[in-house]
Amino acid sequence: MVQIKMHLLVCGGTGCRASESDRLVEQLNHHLQLNGLAEEVKVVTTGCFGFCEKGPIVKVIPDNTFYTQVTPEDAEEIVKEHVLKGRKVARLLYEDPETLEHISDSKHMEFYQKQVRIALRNCGFIDPENIDEYIVRDGYAALGQVLASDPKDTIELIKKSGLRGRGGAGFPTGLKWEITAGNQADQKYVVCNADEGDPGAFMDRSILEGDPNSIIEAMAICGYCIGATKGLIYIRAEYPLAIRRLEIAIKQAREYGLLGKDILGSGFDFDIELRLGAGAFVCGEETALISSMHGSRGEPTIKPPFPAQSGYMGKPTNVNNVETFANIPPIILKGWEWFNSIGSEKSKGTKVFALAGKINNVGLIEVPMGTTLREVIFEIGGGIKDGKRFKAVQTGGPSGGCLTEQHLDTPIDYEHLTAAGSMMGSGGMIVMDEDDCMVSVAKFYLEFTVEESCGKCAPCRIGNKRMHETLEKICQGKGTLDDIEYLENLGKVIKDTALCGLGQTSPNPVLSTIQYFKDEYRAHVVDKKCPAGQCKALKSYVIDETKCIGCTLCARNCPTDAITGDKKVPHVIDQSKCIKCGACYEKCKFGAIQIR
């Protein structure tokens, strides 16, 4: 018998698949076969490793070699050199941006060092399409344990652990379960909210793609605790891979009897169905989600009644987010004390963030609550791209606010982020540098909320539109100081009057940027300047006569013939013709073209 001596873990998350990781798997298998290694080396397609900036990732087990940006064409070299001869392929190793040294073991990468992976414990580690691998990782043991005990004990345990909803609002999970458990009905439901919608966020998708069984197990646990026999996962149809992996996991769990009738001989029945959403952001709001599951228009309804009282089909329904569920099995297996010991005073455990923007290590990370923004951005995230200056970080997606340098030492938890004028949200984190115009950033988020507003309540439907129009006006250089005042009043009223969480938080990006970057707004409306040089309408290109040698290169590249001048004489830009495309700026070799 030949022993398996090596595993090649290949990321099969959506991001890496987009970079052909599935063809890479094929190629690896092909070359293993060619070299007679197929029986002793196993290629495993896993979920996301989180280090998406450098994907596709291949991790070689047992020596923990971490290859980045691997193409299908690299497969041959990896097999021939590393697998066959034990020689690492240096060019594919991660290079530390500061020391410029190759780091072969992912354990030595700063990106991973500060992380604590609870929700992501199996992502990038197991084959998500093989339930056996999940079982070996203590999968379904928590369910088994719970089914042998009083549901009240489990609810108590979850309460004591301090776990709070990871969807954004941070409602204590145990309490939510307890309320739903206390409402009597002939049928109750467990709903998993997988309608992740923040721009740039993919926490839930990664968990579902990398460890679908953990959600299934947690939902069954929840079902047992609250007295529900049916579970529904509301997931956006835009997540085809997550859907497929969930379907596989559900099928396998049913075959093992881990879903269905009389689970593990306990007499408890539970099964799960998928509900595909059309990808409306507002359907992340639980009442809108339920409305959508009913087949109705995805728009929120007034609360009360809360879903815990009257949710899906008018029955008590417990809605939790994917990441919240992912935390449940470890809490049960390792105890509430363990979970409670991680994190900050009121926010326990860890939080997954999708790091994006002007940062070196774009990707998915999981850090203990209480980690500071600085640690996340400069250590795990590897700092700002191209050596630029940090300007702001947006947390909480379109519902959150922009925080500045002064907030870098803010511990990341529900309370501190809210106090600083932003919010935890579901885990989007976008980093901005000195080139980002904060008015444009606010406008970008407003554009999103205008697009995603369901249109039900007037403040959100019309108010956000008017805010967006005002921001547009400011970016066009047509704004006045009154417009800033108008934005502030409108923002406050929308927060105060909108029907659901989407509307109540949609002005946050505007209000927080006005609060922290008022000078930048003033520069737009008073000086008609965009300090970051982003707003086209406020930019003008001029030629510095002292630097221009009259080479005519700019004039030849100008698409609108706005630049004139004789050879060897300084040129001039006709502002009325200039469309501010920046072609001259790019071409000039003498730095003669300036942006004002």
């Binding site: 728009e299 007034i302 507003s453 039900k456 309540c457 007037a458 108010g463 539109k465 129009e469 009057t497």
Partner: protein
């Protein structure tokens, strides 16, 4: 019941558990303004989407403002309805709504009757703070025979949707698109005429702005009246007299039959008749049909279709043809009173008056806008000339009276013209839910038993319950009847009949809340169900005051049969007064 104590604007209030802040405030004389909220007490009609956010109030300890229409009172709650924060929010939201609304109030069909206009006045809006060149949402106009949609004026209160879906179960309207482009529309954005709309008009009846309006046919009437070659006769439905006065500031529940006849004469109609006459005729035909079916049934004929369904209400017939095409032989074949009148006018009256059919213009005044559609049905015309040429609503008549400079309030009471103006009390009550059934029972009882009714008031079929049932003793034979108003209730009854759960002999259905008195052609009820009840009471009073209260006692009806029709259900009666139904199951 549990009582809750709270304070609203420093006033202590005690309310039952489950009372909203909005309701509690009314108890102490604080009328919080609202826009989308509407409730018809006891009729199961409620719209509470929490969408407009005008009724927001400040609740101590709460992070944001609370929509008072949908926030329940809690013990010790401290509510402020007019704090600066509330007033600013309310005004700002109102300005937002107005910023996306056409500014053409002066020429809007709802000018002077618009809740948005009223609210802007109440809130003292003098300018609309908005963005220069702010985008305004627009949508194509949609015209039908009965109603018109100008969705540019829609404020998304969603009342029409609640009526169409929750109350009427028609399902023609729903919100589509998202965000700023959200709009209430039909499926696949069809025209209403191609949608499952049954033209009950309840959406129009509750629209707070000019987004949904009745199709205006007053111009056509004025034109006909001015045409010297035409003889123009008018018929007025029973429910019109119970509500027309409201348009002139007369107390709701005041019947204005005499003034209405006078006004119509002053408007220039050549003859002023009454649809009530045709209602009596309907009872003769429909009652005979019912007795025929019951008789056959009692003799063991198993093919007989029971229950007999009333067929007076055109929206109900549209609804029926769309949803129950498998039961087409169930309703009475008797035409509606409007169309019976038209048929008699164009065939009998024209002869009597010596006017050619095409020169006789029959105008109807109806509490209804589905009647406008009914007039256009092909089976109700001959060689392209309709039996009823123009149908206008109560509100349109009021507008005509105003345009003609008639001081309605000081008009004397006048009578209808003969022969088609005479009616019994039985016909008058057609205008309210249960009225047709009661009228039918009065005649059917006497014909069936050969005895004189001692008690004319069938109180068991009266009331505002959505579905009512009664068993009436026809001298030992129990006749089981059912009355439903609002189409959602009709659906429940029909589904029960189809499945065999219900066994009735006769069922009356009216599409609108309270029957015709709550029709879409009537003045706006402002969400006040007591107004509908007052209208019903006025009809019952008029019935009680009539010397003749049974349709078969109407001497002009007797004369019509003697001179022209022969007897009920005769061949000529069949030809002129009966119709048939079509499978209009809506296919998308």
């Amino acid at each position: 019941m549990d009582k809750i104590k709270l304070t609203i604007d420093n006033k202590p209030v005690e309310v039952a558990k489950g009372t909203t802040i909005f309701q509690a405030a009314r108890q102490v004389g604080i009328n919080i303004p609202a826009l989308c909220y509407m409730k018809l007490e006891n009729l199961g009609v409620e719209n509470r989407p929490g969408a407009c956010r005008i009724c927001v109030v400040e609740v101590e300890g709460r992070r944001n403002l609370a929509p008072s229409c949908s926030t329940d009172c809690t013990e010790g709650m401290v509510v402020k309805t007019t704090s600066p924060r509330v007033l600013n929010a309310r005004r700002t939201v109102m300005e937002l709504i107005l910023s996306d609304h056409p500014q053409d109030c002066l020429v809007c069909p709802s000018n002077g009757k618009c809740e948005l206009q009223d609210l802007a006045a109440t809130l003292g809006i003098r300018e609309i703070r908005t963005v220069e060149n702010a985008e305004v949402s627009t949508y194509r106009k949609d015209y039908s025979f009965s109603l018109q949609r100008d969705m540019d004026k829609c404020i998304l209160c969603r009342r029409c949707e609640s009526m169409c879906n929750d109350v009427q179960s028609v399902g023609a309207l729903g919100a589509i698109n998202r965000g700023f482009t959200s709009i209430v529309a039909t499926a696949f954005e069809q025209n209403l005429s191609d949608s499952p709309c049954v033209f009950c008009g309840q959406c129009v009846a509750v629209c707070p702005t000019g987004a949904l309006t009745r199709t205006d046919d007053t111009g056509r009437v004025f034109k006909a009246l001015a045409d010297p070659t035409k003889t123009v006769v008018v018929q007025t439905a029973p429910a019109v007299r119970a509500a027309l006065g409201e348009e002139f500031g007369i107390k709701p529940g005041t019947s204005v039959t005499g003034k209405m006849a006078a006004a119509l004469r002053r408007l220039g109609f050549d003859r002023v008749f009454d649809t009530d006459f045709a209602a009596d005729l309907t009872i003769m035909e429909e009652g005979t049909e019912l007795l025929g079916r019951i008789g056959a049934f009692l003799q063991g004929d198993t093919s007989v279709k029971l229950p007999l369904l009333t067929s007076c209400c055109p929206a109900w017939i549209n609804f029926f043809e769309q949803n129950y095409p498998d039961m087409l032989d169930q309703p009475s074949t008797a035409k509606s009173p409007q169309q019976m009148f038209g048929a008699v006018a164009k065939n009998y009256l024209s002869q009597k008056m010596g006017v050619k059919r095409e020169d006789l213009v029959v105008v109807s005044v109806m509490p209804c806008i589905a009647k406008k559609y009914e007039c256009t049905r092909k089976e109700f015309s001959k060689d392209g000339n309709p039996d009823v040429d123009i149908s206008i609503s109560t509100v349109e008549l009021a507008a005509m009276i105003k345009m003609a400079n008639i001081d309605f309030v000081s008009l004397p009471d006048e009578d209808f013209d003969h022969p088609l103006g005479e009616s019994t009390g039985a016909a008058v009550i057609f205008g309210t839910t249960g009225g047709v059934m009661e009228a039918a029972l009065r005649t059917a009882y006497e014909v069936f038993t050969g005895k004189t009714l001692e008690r004319l008031d069938f109180k068991e079929v009266r009331g505002f319950e959505g579905i009512r049932t009664a068993s009436v003793d026809f001298n030992g034979t129990m006749v089981n009847v059912c009355i439903a108003h609002q189409l959602g209730n009709a659906r429940k009854v029909m589904d029960g009949i189809r499945s065999g759960k219900f066994n009735f002999h006769a069922v009356e259905v009216m599409a609108c809340p309270g029957g015709c008195i709550g029709g879409a052609g009537q003045p706006y009820h402002k969400g006040d169900a007591s107004l509908l009840k007052a209208r019903a009471q006025s009809l019952y009073r008029e019935d009680a005051d009539k010397p003749l209260r049974k349709s078969h006692e109407n001497p002009y009806i007797t004369k019509l049969y003697e001179e022209f029709l022969g007897e009920p259900m005769s061949e000529l009666a069949h030809h002129l007064l009966h119709t048939h139904y079509f499978d209009k199951h809506h296919k998308i």
